[in-house]
Subunit: 365 residues, 2 copies
């Protein structure tokens, strides 16, 4: 337990500042006047890059590393790119992941009451699983280091290590054990998603998965090739509990999964290492709707609930976990009550949603 | 025009022989007694590997290379693997792709009348696009050559070349030009799907795409990051016309896309090089339902229609194109008439579907 938890806040680009500000209000409302959280803002992102030539200033990095947790809006603007064609506004997220070794990217996929799935006949509660994305190696290890020669050939390298696979797979089994309410068919299960039939590094992933699985005889296991998995997430989403996957595959599958539960606006995310935790919604900066006040803040709000849970567990500070619980149930109530933003086919503004969530939190306190 | 077209047939594993035999009956019915196609069978696959230790015998390879076209059922059996963990039953498909340089994998995605999409409110005609998967390089270039060291690390290499990107992108624009019935919003369009924001080789893919696009000012272009694309295929499938993508991404997206139009049973595929053409449904060998007579043959039948079209164009032999047209319209009529296999929630057997398609073809002749 700490008197003060330092939260490093980076608003980022596009709708980042809007959803970030909304979320901080919500967290403050959940914790009340004695909140132990101290929010400090630092610059990073594509706009900052345009202004200063720096996408991720060193002081911001040092503050993030030293903070108890990091909260981010969203980063990146199309066209704001490095000479190699990759996006400057993503340096913040990607450098944090690698420098702070945030190896576990936890993406809960859940269809809430009040939100319509694009899948026929699927209703709230039918979809409730976690995509656990390896976040520190895989194809993303090539980021910034791929070779491009004479305009003739470009090469990126996919690296998977025993250490990296072992720890993410272990995390998957731990999450499956903790998952309250086993999935639809009553079985706690970890699905290993790979491309072991074609590529050696994924066959290696699967073999390490098999080894680690031996330590968790209480959890069912299965394999799914990534292409089949993409199909399953559409055709039998109710089957899954925890899905563990390499970095690039996790990136693709988690957006796909988000589409089935209301879109990127409903996609919270937590990126966790042994020391640090980084919290941001999985969506992008959506520059097309930035500044209009219509961005969906639920993804960031739910990411902040994960932040409170993580801080609470880490520091044995139950009041943070209680606040996380309140944020989750109030969020659920708001969605069920029809407080939907434009992306959810509603008409509520970011402000209306934020006020409503805060009011209910005040009433619940 | 040729008197005889040699078709090398490999039945493969699981349901492969069933759907392959059904398809040959259909092609014969479409072409009638004077059919210029001569079908010759050759062994390859996981079962053959179990029996002989060889997954893809050299004589089979030589016959495939020499043939006018190659027709395949499906390959692979789970657990029948090489020492490195990859599947022996896939050697046939993968070696053909690389040795014959079958660089264009054309996967039409179409929702037929009579088939229910799992997507809410989506009906026949709403989904009609092509996924053009680069089939000769990308992450699949690493197949068989990835390094695995001391059980500590495994590495696969993603290679993209200017030549490889240029020819697949050019093919995408040609397909968009040919696409009869422009997509829903009246625009012929090629979507470049990549991960240019993070990885150099995909940024290279995008830059070559931009260059080639200049030669096709009549075709609209756009970019989609692969994660966003996975979401779009669920949320706005009606938007797309031709999507072009690297090998691994194309693999994932085409299964996902198939899920939205009835599943893998409805996923035809054509793999084309400058000299050779290879035709098989995109589905696997489905050993769980093999031998039960309930496999869905439509994917392979539609792949064979593509084979006839390709042969007809290549050799200026219009009767082959006419036969392809008849197979397509009869297939459509059968689906619309409710002749659905178990995977489509119907109860028609492989035999019933095959007979019905053949009867209608005979009547149409
Ligand atoms: C913003 C971008 C770097 C990121 C990724 O590619 O991982 C995003 O798509 C995500 O899923 O977190
Ligand atoms: C059978 C397998 C090698 C293949 C692939 O991974 O490309 C299949 O999934 C496909 O899509 O054609």
């Amino acid at each position: 337990m700490k008197d003060i938890y330092e939260i490093a806040v980076v608003h980022g680009d596009g709708i980042g500042p809007e959803v970030c500000a909304a979320t901080i209000e919500v967290v403050k409302a959940a914790l009340g006047p004695d909140s132990p959280l101290r929010f400090s803002e630092y610059p990073a992102g594509a706009e900052h890059f345009l202004k200063t030539g720096q996408s991720f200033p060193e002081p911001t990095f040092l503050a993030c590393r030293a903070a108890d947790a990091i909260l981010h809006g969203a980063g990146g603007l199309p066209g704001v790119v490095h000479p190699d064609g990759t996006e400057a506004g993503l340096d913040f997220t990607l450098k944090l992941r690698f420098e702070l070794d945030l190896y576990a990217n936890i993406r809960p996929i859940r269809l809430f009451e009040g939100v319509e799935s694009p899948l026929r006949g699927v209703k709230a509660g039918d979809i409730d699983y976690i995509i656990l994305r390896e976040n520190s190696e895989g194809l993303y290890a090539a980021r910034g280091s791929g070779a491009r020669l004479r305009g003739e050939v470009a090469v990126d390298t996919l690296v998977q290590t025993r250490t990296g696979i072992e720890r993410i797979v272990r995390k998957a089994f731990e999450l499956a054990r903790q998952s309250d309410g086993a999935p639809r068919d009553g079985v706690r299960r970890v699905t290993c998603c790979d491309k072991a039939n074609v590529l050696r590094s994924y066959a290696f992933f699967r073999s390490v998965f098999d080894e680690v699985a031996k330590d968790y005889p209480d959890i069912a296991t299965e394999y799914a090739l990534v292409d089949a998995m993409a199909m399953h997430l559409v055709l039998k989403p109710g089957h899954f509990n925890v899905i563990v996957s390499e970095n690039m595959f996790g990136d693709i599958l988690s957006d796909l999964a988000a589409a089935t539960v209301g879109g990127m606006g409903m996609a919270p995310s937590a990126e966790i290492g042994d020391a640090n935790g980084f919290f941001q919604a999985a969506h992008g900066s959506a520059p097309d709707i930035a500044g209009k006040g219509i961005a969906n803040p639920y993804g960031t709000i739910l990411s902040a609930a994960s932040m409170l849970d993580w801080l609470g567990h880490k520091h044995g500070d139950a009041k943070l976990n209680q606040a996380a619980g309140r944020i989750r149930s109030v969020t659920e109530a708001c969605l069920a009550g029809g407080l939907l933003s434009a992306d959810l086919k509603g008409s509520a503004s970011t402000r209306q949603i934020t006020h409503s969530v805060c009011d209910r939190l005040a009433a619940a306190a």
